[in-house]
Subunit: 197 residues, 2 copies
Amino acid sequence: MTFARPLAELIGQLERLPGVGPKSAQRLAYHVLRMPEEDVQRLAKALVDAKQSLRLCDACQNVSASETCEICADPRRDPRTICVVAEPRDIAALERVNQYRGVYHVLHGLLSPMDGIGPEQLKVRELLQRAASGVDEVILATNPTVEGDATALYLAGLIKPLGPRVSRLAHGMPVGGELDYADSATLLSALEYRREM
Amino acid sequence: MTFARPLAELIGQLERLPGVGPKSAQRLAYHVLRMPEEDVQRLAKALVDAKQSLRLCDACQNVSASETCEICADPRRDPRTICVVAEPRDIAALERVNQYRGVYHVLHGLLSPMDGIGPEQLKVRELLQRAASGVDEVILATNPTVEGDATALYLAGLIKPLGPRVSRLAHGMPVGGELDYADSATLLSALEYRREM
């Protein structure tokens, strides 16, 4: 099938996005043709605007429209507690809980020697600088995966000598989960970290 | 979570696309921030270009960059056989077979009285004009669904008096399918339309 050239070009560009296969790219492209032109213009502008106007927060390395992100600039947040996450999107997940009042630090990845990702490829130097300047606690909130655990272990070793307490998110049964469906590593953690009632 | 404003705007625009939920919109938006700026510009341009430069083929109503689409303009295609489909994307599926040498007609939808879609909302008038001007055969290739069958039945009744033969895609077992997994409506069709060997 030869698509009309501008359509083929659009499908090709959409296919390059993560999670968008040839089929969804076609479906999206035909949807765009049915959208009002002003909506297409708005989407195109949002893409370019986001790319051009966003940068990383000087303090926490989160995506930000200004030098200091909204969380770091918020006087109600406690700058003496730093929660370390792998990706900016992890902040969204933690903020949804609406309980954490400290600040964040985004590593922009996890250690992965196989992929050539060492501490220099991550925002580790920036984290150590912050940790050395009067921080009470560093919470390592990387995912409980091999890379996430290895990164947390590595960071804990570097941060503890600088002064702050270092903690890690608890492992255990997800709330609402069923024992029957839990994997044994999770169950083992849930047993180890059991709490007195 | 308050995302930086240009990021929130991009996520909001992406969420409006079909099949893109809040989660995928976030993932896509963060991906855009990691893309080289020229790639983002190219995607934005492809969106606007496709919307602005594409129109419907005067003959078959397929999406086209010019008055007459590539298929209708191709002298090797037989304009006396018209295959009627619901959507432009159905043409891509049929062209992949690489056997059909006639032309197409896109209805841009199916009859659906519940949704207020009658013949006036579809490209039916255009189809009848074509069918009345010396066409040998009209193949009704709408999906084998309630709406697709009803639309095919309705069109067959209008087209037959105009002269052309009218046919419908065969129902039956999908090639490579297993009897065990076939629904009974499909099996019934496969029995009814059985062919002598």
